[in-house]
Amino acid sequence: MEALAFGVVAGCALLSALAVVRSADLVRAVLWLGVTLFSTAVLYAMLGASFVAGVQVLLYVGGVVTLMIFGVMVTRRHEGVAQKLERPASARAAAVALGIFGAVAWAILATGGLDAPTAPPATSTADLGRALLRDHVLAFEAVSMLLLAAMVGAIVIARRRDPGAVKRPIDRPAAAPVPAEGAAE
C-alpha cells in the first residue's frame, strides 16, 4: 500500500517535472511546477515531515507559483501568444542530464547499507521548533536578515529606471492613428 502510494506520488512528480521543462507555454510550465511542488509536499508528509509539507504548500504552491505567473505575465511579449520553446541544444542537454543521472544512480545503487532496517524515532513538529530556535538560532536569524536583504535588493533592482532602457517597442501593438478632428484643412 505504501509502495503503491509512493509510486503514484513519484510518478506525478516526475511526469509534471518533465512537463515543466518541455511545455512551450511558460504559464503552463509554471502551473506544472505547482503540480511538482505539491507532489513533493505529499512525499514530505509521507516521510513524516508534516510541518515542512505544510510550509511547502503555503509558500511554494501558494506563493512562488503565483509570483512566477506574475513574472511571466509582466514580461510577456505578445498577449495571448505562447512563447515558443527553443530547443537548440536539446539532444546534448538530454545527454548531459542522462549522464549525470546514470552516475548518481550508480553511486546510490553501489552504496551498501543505505536501507538499514532500523526505524529511528519520528521527528515531531515540536522537536523541529526546538531544534530551530535552540541549536540553530544563529542560522535562523541569519536567514531572516537574508530575506530582508533579498526583499530590498529585489525592490532596488526592479525599480531602477536607467536612461539606457529600450522603450519596449514590441510591447505596444501598432494602433491605428486616430484622425484628428479638423486636421484636414
Binding site: T36, L47, G71, T75, E86, A93, A116
Partner: protein
C-alpha cells in the same frame, strides 16, 4: 519506500532540472528548472532525516526553502530588469558584461 528509492527519485528530478537548465533559453524557464533542482535537494534532506533520525534534515530543509524563495525573488527582479532593457527575456541578450 526505502531510502534508496527516495534518493533515486530525487536524482531523477534533479536531472530533469539539469535538462531544463541546459535546453531552455527563456530566463523564467531557467528559474523554474533551478526550482526543480532545489526541490530535489530538499527531498534528499527529508529522506535522510526520516530514515536516519534526528531533526537536522528538516532544519536544513526549512533553511533551504527560505534561501530558494529569496533566490526566486531576486531572479524575477533581474528578469524584469532584463525585459525593461531589451524587451525580451532570453538569456543570450544579457551579454553586455562579457569580456
Amino acid at each position: 519506500m526505502t531510502l534508496s528509492t527516495c534518493l533515486l527519485l530525487a536524482s531523477a528530478l534533479f536531472c530533469v532540472g539539469v535538462y531544463g537548465l541546459l535546453a531552455r533559453r527563456q530566463m523564467v524557464a531557467i528559474l523554474l528548472s533551478v526550482e526543480l533542482m532545489a526541490n530535489a535537494a530538499n527531498i534528499v534532506f527529508i529522506a535522510f532525516g526520516h530514515f536516519r533520525g534526528g531533526t537536522t534534515g528538516q532544519v536544513f530543509t526549512v533553511f533551504s526553502l527560505a534561501l530558494t524563495v529569496a533566490e526566486v525573488v531576486v531572479g524575477l527582479a533581474l528578469v524584469l530588469l532584463l525585459y525593461r532593457r531589451h524587451g525580451d527575456t532570453r538569456v543570450g541578450l544579457a551579454s553586455e558584461m562579457k569580456g
